[in-house]
Symmetry: C2
Subunit: 555 residues, 2 copies
């Protein structure tokens, strides 16, 4: 074992909530055999990534070492853990291991990208263990807001690592496995080298509540409501779907699922045997014939997504179903920071229709899927690791979690994306800093976050766009004056004349003053025209647009 080491390297998910991707390695420095845990995505926003379709970790480092990559493990089927497997499989060409339900979701994504059958291997939970080079890996069932979530038990020559995955401590999760304290005690008994632990809810001071606690309030609400009830939540929260559906059934309501993700998730969970006892549902056509107070719609779009069923119901309706005064709309969900505007927009549209809105407020209709502060402490206590490395959280979450561990006597360290940590010794140490980042799926193309494409879009959005065209003839003389077109700029400014004409007039002056040498100087002419246009725009409309100068030379 001399000279060998155990490393941990987050490529995504550490210093952010989203696009989880954690590398573990064991071996001589630079020759470690590697495994990857999770390969997720994160979602773009207009502020920083306009036009981008999906964000995923930059896996260049791993791709360059794929001959050393033994396997990929996916802990659960949330998009921020499994979302990139289809997009990135081809670059790693390493088999992906997951339990049944997660595998069913991953299979769908891999199929969309034409990955081979062998790309995915379905595995059993603990006590099964899989051997890959120096690693022995077992899937440890753990409760979360999606069925079959798993932590990983990673045995290495340097000791046992427990990677929690996303989790909560829930003794009655409605669907899927309850938190099995005995199991986690059992795997901890031989001694835990390192606990790599979910951190998102470290700022929530109360112990987390069980999924099962929601049933009575939901049932009461649906019984009392006199009109149609619409409920939205993450489709992947199968337990919540069941809780809502049972509440509907008990209050005499037939259930109609709306939104592709909602139908697919219920289907997949039923097929994999995880979801049982889900009431019979009807399609939207049949639903229109049912009295409003005997109907519940279970719909996608809890985060205000523009094209989802929620947004459409809030506007003109969806597949023939329309909302009206006296109906009730329940957000059985928490709004993820950054999505507030979209959710509030839908709420106000519903309000305009006279629809009553219920939300998470007070926790009556929603519980979180993550371990709160006391639950994290319980996990520390159960596993008693030699060291705690917080993962899955923004920097503030990781730091707080590390402090929480230290307060409880654990050695800890904040490790963010790109920090390769050596776990071999008595405390975690930084081995190396790796260049990491984000890759964007942009339309049908993958681009780098630093390529400048998105930067240019943001600039056009903030500053507008101005095109200058100019023709220069065979004798290096201008054929007419420069011509200007604008997009995303006010038509007129300070002088009340059309902006385009004012800029063209100023550019004509530039041309009149220009020496012949300037007309021959491609770069110089470009710069001169660009600067003049920006100056004039600034004085006319108070902003400097992005400028494209196109000089056509007839020679």
């Amino acid at each position: 074992m001399s000279g060998e080491r155990l490393i941990y390297l987050p490529l995504g998910g550490a210093g952010e909530i989203g696009m989880n991707a954690y590398v573990y390695g064991y071996g001589k420095p630079g020759q470690e055999r590697l495994i990857l845990v999770d390969l997720g995505v994160t979602f773009p926003d207009m502020d920083t990534t306009p036009g981008v379709d999906l964000i995923m970790p930059d896996i260049s480092w791993l791709e360059e070492r794929k001959d050393r990559l033994e396997a990929i493990f996916v802990t659960h089927a949330h998009e921020d853990h499994v979302g990139a497997v289809g997009h990135l499989y081809d670059r790693l060409r390493t088999p992906i291991y997951a339990r049944k339900f997660t595998a069913a979701i991953a299979r769908h994504k891999l199929d969309e990208h034409g990955a081979p059958e062998s790309a995915l291997v379905e595995v059993q939970a603990w006590p099964q263990q899989l051997e890959f080079g120096p690693f022995k890996i077992g899937f440890l069932p753990i409760s979360h807001s999606i069925p079959e979530s798993s932590g990983l038990c990673i045995d290495t020559p340097a000791g046992r690592v427990l990677h929690t995955g996303d989790f909560k401590i829930d003794a009655s999760p409605v669907v899927g496995e309850a938190f099995d304290r005995g199991l986690w005690e059992e795997v901890s008994k031989p001694g835990v080298k390192a606990l790599i632990c979910d951190s998102t809810n470290v700022f929530s001071p109360e112990p987390g509540r069980s999924e099962a606690t929601l049933q009575p309030a939901l049932e009461e609400m649906m019984s009392k409501s006199t009109g149609l009830v619409v409920a939205t939540t993450f489709a992947s929260n199968v337990a919540r779907l069941k809780t809502l559906a049972i509440a509907a059934q008990r209050s005499g309501r037939t259930i109609c699922l709306l939104g592709r993700a909602m139908r697919r998730m219920v289907e997949t969970a039923t097929e994999t045997g995880l979801l049982t006892g889900f009431p019979k549902t009807v399609g939207p056509e049949e639903a229109t014939g049912i009295p409003r107070d005997n109907l519940m719609l279970l719909v996608t779009g809890s985060q205000g997504e523009r094209r989802a069923a929620s947004a459409q119901l809030a506007q003109n309706g969806y597949l023939g179903l329309k909302l009206q005064e006296g109906d009730t709309f329940l957000f059985s969900s928490r709004t993820i920071p950054g999505n507030e505007r979209g959710v509030i927009k839908i709420m106000n549209q519903l309000s305009e229709k006279g629809v009553d809105i219920l939300d998470d407020e007070g926790g009556r209709y929603h519980v979180s899927g993550h371990a709160n502060r006391p639950d994290l402490q319980m996990m520390h206590f159960i596993t008693r690791p030699q060291m705690l490395v917080p993962m899955h959280g923004e920097h503030r979450h990781l730091r707080e979690h590390a402090k929480l561990g230290e307060a409880g006597g654990l050695t800890s360290m904040v490790a963010v994306n790109g920090m390769m940590i050596d776990l071999s010794g008595n405390r975690p140490t930084v081995a190396e800093y790796i260049e990491t980042g984000r890759s964007y799926l942009d339309g049908s193309v993958m681009i780098g976050a630093m390529d400048g494409v998105v930067r240019d879009r943001i600039r056009m959005a903030l500053n507008g766009h101005l095109t200058i065209t100019l023709i220069i003839d065979e004798n290096d003389e201008a054929l007419g004056d420069p011509w200007v077109e604008v997009m995303g700029l006010p038509e007129t400014g300070r002088s009340k004349k059309p902006l385009v004409e004012v800029v063209e007039a100023d550019l004509a002056k530039v041309m009149a003053r220009a020496k012949k040498s300037l007309l021959r100087d491609e770069e110089g002419l470009d710069k001169e025209l660009r600067n003049a246009a920006r100056r004039t725009a600034q004085s006319e409309v108070g902003r400097k647009p992005e400028v494209e100068v196109i000089v056509s030379r007839l020679n």
Copy 2:
């Protein structure tokens, strides 16, 4: 009085939080004499208004009737109530009436726009009443999160209207006037025709807490902190500034104000005599010489604004002051929905520096400036109006407030921007729908929300931009092939060749196929090239860019 009516017309603030502007009128239909209450702004965001500097109500309706506009009243100095007076004064040229502190803030804005001295008149509070045509107006002091906030008592031949302005019920507001229940009972005694009432906090179930309740917790926190303490809040919350400063002083800390708005607000509040007993402050240079645990910085940027002191401190420091491990940063504020991303970004930057972050969570360090649900009920009870018209809120707030009023036996109605309401009868009725909207300050130019300028910017941000240039000679023949430039698009796509070249090759084919008649047909040629470019881009990179076609004709 026969044939005359009392009308209420919100031009902004009803159906949104921001840009308050409420018109009242009295007289024969179409000949009402008018007053305007408040003239505020709202702030742009990247999702819907990229590049825009400020948003204000479209006052075209009022401008066309300015000969009937008697006066403008400003209830308090928050930007969403006073922010547009400078920008819009020139279009209305009607005097603005405000109490001393509000007037001082408004004066500054008017001066920036060169408005005359006569544009602003400072008034006394109740019992002073001002007569304008059929109206008699008095300013009723009311507690809020800025000094000298006022409701308005508007007497008309049809009865007395009480316009609350923004308010909370605070018996110990630290700075400014406490809520004077006796006064509001007194003005209500003759009978209140209509209560036009703040609605923002109608979903907050607990009675609001007084500003004074924060002092002990803040003092304890500052005494316990061992490093530098930084506190941020809205600069206009003068009471909070004082509470924070006193807490600092008592815990042995010298105060340094950072950010222009912060310094100006303390200055204005002191000059107008509202702020007394504020501890001596030091400038940033002197502050750098003070031990960290004897210093508190009071800074701007509680909403994550990019260039404010908070953001700069979270990055490289501000005016020589830098944060470090062990310092504490307090957000004594609530994050306004939509600003979460900016605030969270700062929190994580602070975390990276090892700075401990405290926020509003739990209300320990922040109380709201608005009346909560039970406080609204108290206001209904005190004023016992014939009718309640909720204002200042999104649709969901207005609707909930109207329901709250009705549950308490009041006649109510949801009136949103552009709805002219007749208050003359026993219940409010819709008199007319007015076309309203938003105007954007964009750079130095005012543009309409529907002008298409912002729409084009959003499209460029989402789709990228592509320019096609083509020269057609005197004989209507193309001089060379079309030339393509792109901005905000990936360099290469499906074929791995440069996107620009692929599009140019396809456009060359279009030209080769084109009949001479097409080359003469300006519109037809434009359309043909545009569509071809969009088609090719879609197949190469999966998106259809915004296209500008520039055909230069040499004839």
